[in-house]
């Protein structure tokens, strides 16, 4: 069964480019403009890996991850941020399901490695 990757980012350029890139490697992709949109969809349970922007309008990526964890629906997450220097966000993003935190712009290998790792991810104890 083809793994499903969900991309949540408010920036259309990021959404569209990641959708195309991931689809080009043969994975299924769903894109969402906000955390709320993702939660309202039926996807959370079907998602094998989440690619989340740290800063989102409304609920942030970090909060979305926390909420999934709190409701025992944790999924492997790859965070992305445009603020390369934002160490605080990196710290906040860290969790049992956090696979990686990529700084935009990132190379395709960086992303695909992280996705591959995520698909095999077992949450740390």
């Amino acid at each position: 069964m083809t793994p499903v990757i969900a991309v949540v980012d408010d920036d259309i350029s990021v959404r569209e480019s990641l959708e195309s890139l991931i689809r080009s490697v043969g994975l299924a992709v769903r894109v969402f403009a906000s955390a709320e949109e993702f939660l309202e969809s039926a996807e959370p349970a079907k998602t094998d890996c989440l690619i989340l922007d740290v800063r989102l309008p409304g609920m942030s990526g970090i909060e979305l991850n926390r909420q999934l964890l709190d409701s025992s629906r944790g999924r492997p997450v790859v965070f992305m941020t445009a603020h390369g220097y934002d160490d605080r966000a990196r710290l906040e993003a860290a969790s049992a399901w956090t696979v990686a935190c990529l700084t935009k712009p990132f190379g395709e290998d960086e992303l695909l490695d992280a996705v591959q790792a995520a698909l095999k991810w077992k949450p740390s104890a």
Binding site: S13, E16, L21, S24, A82
Partner: protein, 795 residues
């Protein structure tokens, strides 16, 4: 006879004179009933009348007898005269017949004469025998007897002679023999006449005597009868009126309250029985009165002892009794209190009102209840609850008023304290904008709302307590569901809290915060909700204002940050990294779509198109940042009130100014014309100038740290703002250099503030400059074109 009458009258008058004394001591025949006594009196009167009548009749009989005697005497006399005439007639008639010698006629006449003669003699003899008068001449009777025997024999002889025809003998005989008889009868007549006249005289005298006696006896008998009747009537009257007047006196004594009075009982008649009944009644009354008096004393004691003030008043409202307890309370005596005297004890402030109420009650006949302060013996006024009720007779007329009053001073004090507490609570609620309320579930109505609660909902006065639905209708439609759910939770027993908007009938929108606390009944069910309501409109507005200022501050900080090189770079990185990230990923994807065994040209083309798009976007971002960094872009153009713009900055800088003991004054032109521009950028300019001024005064001591901001219309096309400080001032030669980039006099500054500010002002078509102050400090001015009057802005 007169003497006897006189002595009788004297005896009677003496008896009458003494009789009152007799009757005073006793009633004769008092043992008999009044009826019997009256009957006896009537009988005696009748008897006395009959006795008088008998005497009268007797006297009449005497007179009658004498009259009859007279008649008899006359009759005797007449009968003897008749005999005389008979004899004469005998002689004359026979003599006449003798001449005729008619023997038949002679015999006939003789027979007739003889019969008449015999009859007359017999009548005379009878009359004489009937009127046997003592001393009568006996010759009369014998003469008559002689006549009776002689005449018939003579007649017989004469008849014989006539029959024999011896008429001369007859004639002779008639003249001799009969003549002797005539003389005898004449003698008899004389004798009888004499006898009769004597008897007549006696009868007349006796009749006269009887007549005289009758004249005396009749009035005496009448008088006596009258006297007896009067005496008996008087006796009968006295025997009734005396006991009656004694009873009347007794009744009057009873009426005057002398229940010990007893009437004297005499005899056994009806009045005596009445007297006994009266005495018994009086004794009974005395006993009753005593009981009553004792009861009254007990009642009075009760009235005086019960813990209330009790009085009674006449129908006109004047007090006629008041109990001892009141007198002790008020220190007044009964006389001071009676009538309307009590009103002096009523507090002057309450007096008119109370009197009016009391008079109204008396006039209308309806009971009254009032509260008034009344002075006690120690001069202190105490609150009394006063009640008056009327007592009516069976016709409904008021006969008395009864009243009580109870000391309610303690209750009043408690009430006052309570009222004060309520007032404090209401004031507290008013100050805290917090009202309280209670809602009753069974009736589905609010049953209590504090003053503040009513004020929040803009309700002047409650006529009917509103239902839940009535209040729900005020809730903002967008909030209704949420509030309703919360309310239902409380109905199920949870304590809840909601914050929502209400739309009041006046059109006002208020933000209110409500807490609801369920109250259980004995059965453990929720019976009521009690809670608070807080008007948070002001707080909400303040929050919104704070939020706006926070946003403003954030905007300014953002601008500030952007203006600082390092932060500018960060911002540039973030803005550019987004499309850059798209470019990279799209590039990778494009390569991958083309690298497949069968290149997916369509996908590749699409990704390549996006690469171009994202690249352009990144370029635009760079250009915009560059434009800002090179201060050449007036990003927004809007109509601005420069005064308001400056005020918002002062709200931000106020804390800093206070911290540094700087007093900020504003001298704004009220008619300042609006300008066009970017609010945030212009505020950055003002903030820069203000912060510079504050910092410039940080080393000032010994004089006021004063910051004055002035605005004015300088000409038809421009407005000007001036920021003046009382700081150390700038070297006049250095004034122009102050606007160069990286020029700074501050240890921590970058020297970019004034440079950027000038760029911004110039971008708005205005200018920024500084002048030295007459006194200490510096003045920075900037002028901006008025709205619509500005030159076309470069993009």
């Amino acid at each position: 006879m007169t003497g006897r009458a006189k002595s009788m009258l004297a005896a009677i008058s003496e008896w009458i004179r003494r009789s009152p004394h007799v009757f005073r001591n006793r009633v004769p025949f008092g043992g008999a009933s009044i009826g019997a006594r009256l009957t006896a009196c009537f009988v005696v009167i009748l008897l006395s009348m009959m006795a008088a009548d008998l005497v009268t009749v007797w006297q009449f009989r005497r007179i009658t007898a004498e009259a009859r005697r007279l008649v008899r005497a006359d009759e005797t006399s007449l009968s003897v005269v008749r005999i005389h005439f008979d004899v004469e007639t005998f002689r004359d008639k026979l003599a006449a017949v003798t001449t005729t010698h008619d023997i038949r006629q002679f015999r006939m006449e003789a027979a007739s004469l003889r019969q008449k003669f015999v009859e007359d003699v017999a009548q005379s003899q009878q009359l004489l025998r009937a009127s046997d008068v003592p001393g009568r001449d006996p010759a009369i009777a014998s003469g008559l007897e002689t006549l009776r025997t002689t005449l018939p024999s003579q007649l017989d002889t004469t008849i014989e002679l006539a029959s024999a025809g011896d008429w001369p003998a007859v004639d002779l005989r008639l003249r001799n023999q009969v003549q002797a008889l005539i003389e005898l009868t004449a003698l008899l007549v004389e004798k009888v006449d004499r006898d009769v006249s004597q008897e007549r005289a006696q009868a007349v005298e006796s009749g006269n005597q009887a007549h005289q006696q009758l004249v005396l006896v009749l009035p005496v008998a009448a008088l006596l009868t009258l006297l007896v009747a009067v005496a008996l009537g008087w006796y009968a009257t006295r025997s009734i009126t005396d006991p009656l007047s004694e009873l009347e006196a007794g009744a009057q004594a009873l009426a005057q309250g002398d229940f010990q009075h007893q009437v004297t009982i005499r005899g056994h008649d009806e009045l005596a029985q009445l007297g006994q009944v009266f005495n018994h009644t009086a004794r009974q009354l005395a006993a009753l009165y005593e009981t009553l008096r004792r009861n009254e004393a007990l009642f009075r004691l009760t009235i005086d002892t019960i813990p209330a003030y009790v009085w009674s008043a006449l129908p006109d409202g004047s007090v006629d009794f008041i109990n001892q307890r009141w007198l002790e309370f008020s220190g007044m005596n009964s006389n001071q209190t009676f009538g309307w005297g009590w009103e002096a004890a009523v507090h002057p402030e309450d007096r008119d009102g109370f009197l009016e109420a009391w008079r109204a009650a008396v006039a209308s006949g309806k009971g009254m209840e009032a509260e008034a302060r009344v002075r006690s013996a120690d001069g202190q006024y105490r609150w009394l609850l006063i009640r008056n009720v009327p007592l009516r007779d069976e016709t409904g007329k008021i006969v008395k008023w009864y009243g009580t009053s109870t000391d309610i001073e303690d209750r009043k004090r408690t009430e006052q304290t309570l009222r004060q507490s309520e007032a404090y609570l209401a004031e507290g609620q008013r100050l805290a904008h917090t009202g309280s309320w209670a809602f009753d579930l069974p009736s589905n109505r609010y049953i209590y709302a504090s003053e503040e609660c009513l004020r929040i909902f803009e309700i002047d006065a409650i006529q009917d307590w509103p239902t839940r639905e009535a209040i729900s209708r005020l809730i903002h439609p967008e909030d209704w569901d949420r509030v309703n759910r919360s309310f239902e939770k409380s109905v199920r027993g949870e304590m809840t809290e909601s914050e929502f908007r209400v739309l009041l009938p006046s059109g006002t929108v208020k933000h209110i915060q409500v807490t609801r606390h369920p109250v259980l009944n004995d059965a453990g069910d929720v019976a009521r909700l009690v809670g608070t309501v807080i008007d948070v409109t002001e707080r909400k507005r303040a929050e919104e204002e704070r939020e706006r200022l926070r946003q403003l501050e954030a905007d300014l900080r953002h601008v500030n940050r952007v203006s600082v090189m390092g932060e500018l770079a960060a911002s540039v990185a973030h803005e550019v990294n987004q499309p850059l990230s798209g470019v990279v990923s799209n590039g990778s994807a494009c390569l991958r779509w083309l690298a497949g065994d069968v290149p997916n040209v369509e996908e590749a083309r699409e990704t390549a198109r996006r690469i171009v798009r994202d690249g352009k976007r990144a370029g635009e971002i760079i250009a915009r940042i560059r434009a800002m960094a090179t201060k050449s872009a007036a990003t927004r153009q809007e109509e601005l009130d420069l005064n308001g713009t400056i005020r918002e900055v002062l709200a931000l800088a106020g804390d800093e100014a206070k911290k540094r003991s700087v007093v900020i004054q504003t001298q704004f032109a009220d008619d300042l014309s609006p300008v066009s521009g970017d609010r945030v950028q212009l505020q950055q300019v003002v903030l820069n100038l203000v912060m510079n001024a504050i910092e410039a005064m940080s080393s000032v001591d010994g004089r006021a740290r004063e910051l004055v901001i002035t605005t004015r219309n300088i000409d038809a096309g421009q407005v000007q703002a001036t920021v003046r400080d009382s700081g150390t001032g700038l070297d006049p030669n250095a004034i122009d250099k102050a606007f160069d980039p990286f020029y700074t006099t501050k240890s921590g500054g970058m020297g970019m503030g004034l440079s950027i500010s000038r760029s911004i002002v110039q971008a708005h078509g205005g200018r920024l400059w500084a002048t030295a102050h007459d006194g200490p400090g510096t003045m920075f001015h900037f002028a901006l074109p008025k709205h619509h009057d500005r030159p076309t802005t470069k993009v």
